[in-house]
């Protein structure tokens, strides 16, 4: 409710009171037009990739960019400009370099380095009195560092790292962001620079900029750089660094922006890609339910790293795998096994194969959560890489499963499906399949149903395939095929069977605990 003591001035500011209708209407229209114009300008800028603000005289002609001579002449001009004492000239030179380095095709990274410009650029990073200069220098160095290892090395060896780390704290957001980006490129070069950055204190400096009011674009860059600090093995980033970064990464994993989510998740995938101790550190954060949730997202950019992370986790210990199962991963996997993208199918099958390598209680959970039917589908219809993973799942399952579980798998059509894959070229896969067949026969032996199984195999054309493999060029393959035939498919005389017994010992079937 408006108070009684308004001055006229404030009164006139209020929307409708004390104003003439026509004036108000005119104002509304003008505003609307302004808004539309601003929007239009934005989209035009986006499409044409042109900067409309502060366009100084470009030193490099933007149209004639492919000419080597023009470039080297331009670079000479740049060198001259940045070596003056005039801030104006320095800025111009730096900006011209930046434009060269950020053009679409063949940016002249090497030429810029060889012209000796990096020294000046790094110097300019320290010019807190001239933010424009700092920004252009930071951008130029970012782009040089985005090249090969050699390029990145040049940037580092010219002393850019401490300067960039200092710039992380810059009050100018665009400069801080540029420093984040440059450091991300340096970290991404490999474990040595990554660790060098960590030694220089990059982590606390980065985390200090992780505030709730940070704009999305800034956060995206920050998350990407963090992920590069988690990346690479030989060696892994040290534990203390990981512990420092994890809480923030977890935070970012709950952010609304999909790019931020994706990069934060990639960080998790790097951190889980290692020995079980590494996986433990991640599981302890309690992030598993959120990872499982992300498996159900629409965006491939989110699903891919989430699935990779989960796959890494279930390639760990049985306990770690159980943690993933408890978080609900089994209910998310079936739809991933039917995902339109074959790479997702493949990774899902890989995850299943590792779960199937666990104890029979976990195999039972595969059954109860309905993973078998989609698995058989993949065996039948997946692309080869996916089929390969699915085959591993079957072998692991038949190796660790109880007799009943194995029978169930056969009833789902898995045996027929893998028999159909016996003709693939990939030797390793053939061996894995033969292993699975052998495991299934072992289960049949326990039930006294070997004959039935032989019939089944024969009916679906499997016997022919196995027989054919006895001619395979690979020793291990033909011996394995032979062994199967001899053991289960040949009429072996008593004398010969004794011989076989002494060779291969086990007519004692391995006792597996149910």
């Amino acid at each position: 409710m408006p108070t009684e003591n308004l001055t006229d001035k404030r009164m006139s500011k209020f929307k409708n009171k004390g104003k003439e209708p026509t004036k108000m209407r005119d104002r509304r229209i003008a505003e609307c037009v302004e808004l539309r114009k601003a929007h239009r300008v934005e989209s035009i800028l986006k499409r044409r990739n042109i900067s409309s603000f502060g366009d100084e005289e470009p030193l490099s002609p933007e149209f004639n960019t492919d000419n080597e001579q023009v470039i080297s002449a331009t670079i000479q001009e740049i060198v001259a400009s940045v070596n003056t004492d005039s801030p104006e000239m320095q800025r111009q030179g730096c900006q011209a370099a930046r434009k060269l380095l950020s053009r679409e095709r063949n940016p002249p990274l090497k030429e810029i380095v060889e012209a000796g410009l990096l020294t000046r650029f790094v110097e300019f990073l320290g010019r807190n009195d001239d933010p424009m200069l700092q920004f252009e220098a930071a951008w130029s160095l970012t782009n040089v560092a985005s090249g090969t290892s050699w390029h990145t090395q040049q940037v580092v060896e010219h002393g850019a790292v401490p300067a960039f780390i200092a710039l992380l704290a810059s009050p100018m957001l665009n400069i801080s962001e540029q420093a984040v980006w440059a450091l991300g490129n340096i970290a991404g070069d490999g474990p040595s620079y990554r660790d060098a950055l960590i030694d220089c204190g990059i982590i606390p400096a980065l985390l200090a900029r992780l505030t709730p009011d940070a704009p999305v674009g800034y956060l995206r860059n920050l998350t990407w750089t963090l992920s590069n600090l988690c990346r690479n093995k030989n060696p892994f980033p040290r534990f203390s660094a990981v512990q420092q970064m994890l809480p923030s990464i977890i935070q970012l994993l709950h952010h609304g922006d999909k790019s931020v989510l994706s990069d934060a998740c990639w960080a998790i995938s790097y951190l889980t890609d290692g020995p079980n101790e590494r996986i433990d550190v991640v599981i302890k954060t309690g992030i598993l339910p959120r990872l499982v949730e992300m498996l159900g997202f629409e965006e491939l950019s989110v699903v891919t790293p989430a699935l990779r992370s989960i796959g890494n986790i279930v390639s760990g210990s049985d306990l770690q795998t159980q943690a993933a199962i408890d978080a609900g991963v089994l209910s998310a996997l079936p739809q991933l096994m039917r995902h339109p993208k074959s790479s997702v199918q493949k990774e899902a099958a890989w995850a299943v194969s590792n779960i199937a390598a666990g104890p029979c209680q976990q195999i039972q959970q595969l059954i109860t959560c309905g993973l078998l039917a989609p698995l058989v589908d993949l065996l039948r219809n997946g692309d080869f890489k996916t089929q390969r993973e699915a085959v591993w799942a079957v072998t692991n399952y038949t190796s660790g499963g109880t007799v009943d579980q194995v029978v169930h798998l056969v009833k789902c059509g898995a045996l027929e499906a893998i028999l159909n894959l016996l003709q693939v070229k990939d030797t390793k896969t053939v061996l894995v399949i033969l292993d699975a067949i052998s495991n299934i026969f072992l289960a049949a032996e326990k039930l006294g149903e070997v004959d039935k199984l032989c019939l089944l195999v024969e009916e679906v054309g499997g016997l022919d395939r196995i027989e054919f493999l006895q001619n395979h060029e690979n020793n291990t393959v033909y011996r394995a095929a032979q062994a199967l035939i001899e053991k289960y498919f040949s009429e072996v005389g008593v004398a010969e069977s004794h011989l076989l017994a002494s060779f291969r010992n086990p007519f004692v079937f391995p006792q597996r605990s149910p």
């Binding site: 929007h39 933010p131 980006w181 991300g184 390639s315 666990g358």
Partner: protein, 203 residues
């Protein structure tokens, strides 16, 4: 005088061995001829870095590992005797991956297609907009959320060009300007009294 030889994969798995190009006798008075041996040379300090251990085999009783060299393609992979190697981490990793394949059947990820770029070039020309222009806000002249995020159209001091800034940013950087904007646009709805309500109902 030393010759630089073509660095061979054999020679430099960790550090290049520095070979002696001359030998000296300790006997007084006798000068040892400086032998210039063709093969024994001072190697350049080039380091060849093992990127990954790919396979293992036993040849004539010696254990050898198949190595992928950093910066070289797979065509340049070589088998090296294990005694020549100084990359215990990589060997351990390889053996671990083999082990987990056998015991319990767990298989680690193949790092094919990690999917995320390791480095990014910034190739968009910077459209300095909004607060990045470094100007002082004068007043907000409009608002829109068609991009999904609430944005204000900001008129800056000493500039004719207005542009869009995120409301989130403006709320923090110039709250008074934001408040003025909202106040200018407040409308007050008067609540109908009981009598007026009855009147409306009749209509």
């Amino acid at each position: 005088m030393s010759q630089t030889s073509e660095p061979s994969a054999d020679a430099a798995v960790t550090e290049a061995p520095v070979a002696q190009s001359e030998t000296k006798q300790s006997t007084a008075g006798k000068k040892q001829n400086k032998k210039k041996v063709e093969e024994v040379v001072e190697e350049e300090e080039e380091e060849y870095v093992v990127e990954k251990v790919l396979d293992r085999r036993v040849v004539k009783g010696r254990v050898e590992y198949l190595l992928k060299w950093k910066g070289f393609s797979d065509e340049d992979n070589t088998w090296e005797p294990e005694d020549n190697l100084d990359c215990p981490d990589l060997i351990a990793e390889f053996l671990q991956s083999q082990k987990s394949a056998e015991s319990g059947g767990k298989r680690r990820a193949e790092s094919d297609g990690d999917g995320k770029e390791t480095k990014k070039r910034k190739d968009e020309p910077e459209k300095l907009r909004g607060f990045a222009r470094g100007l002082d806000p004068e007043r907000i002249i409009g608002a829109t959320d068609s991009s999904g995020e609430l944005m204000f159209l900001m008129k800056w001091k000493n500039s004719d060009e207005a542009d869009l800034v995120p409301a989130k940013e403006a709320n923090v950087k110039c709250p008074q300007v934001v408040i003025s904007f909202y106040e200018e646009r407040l409308t007050w709805h008067s609540y109908p009294t009981e009598e007026e309500e009855k009147k409306d109902d009749k209509n």
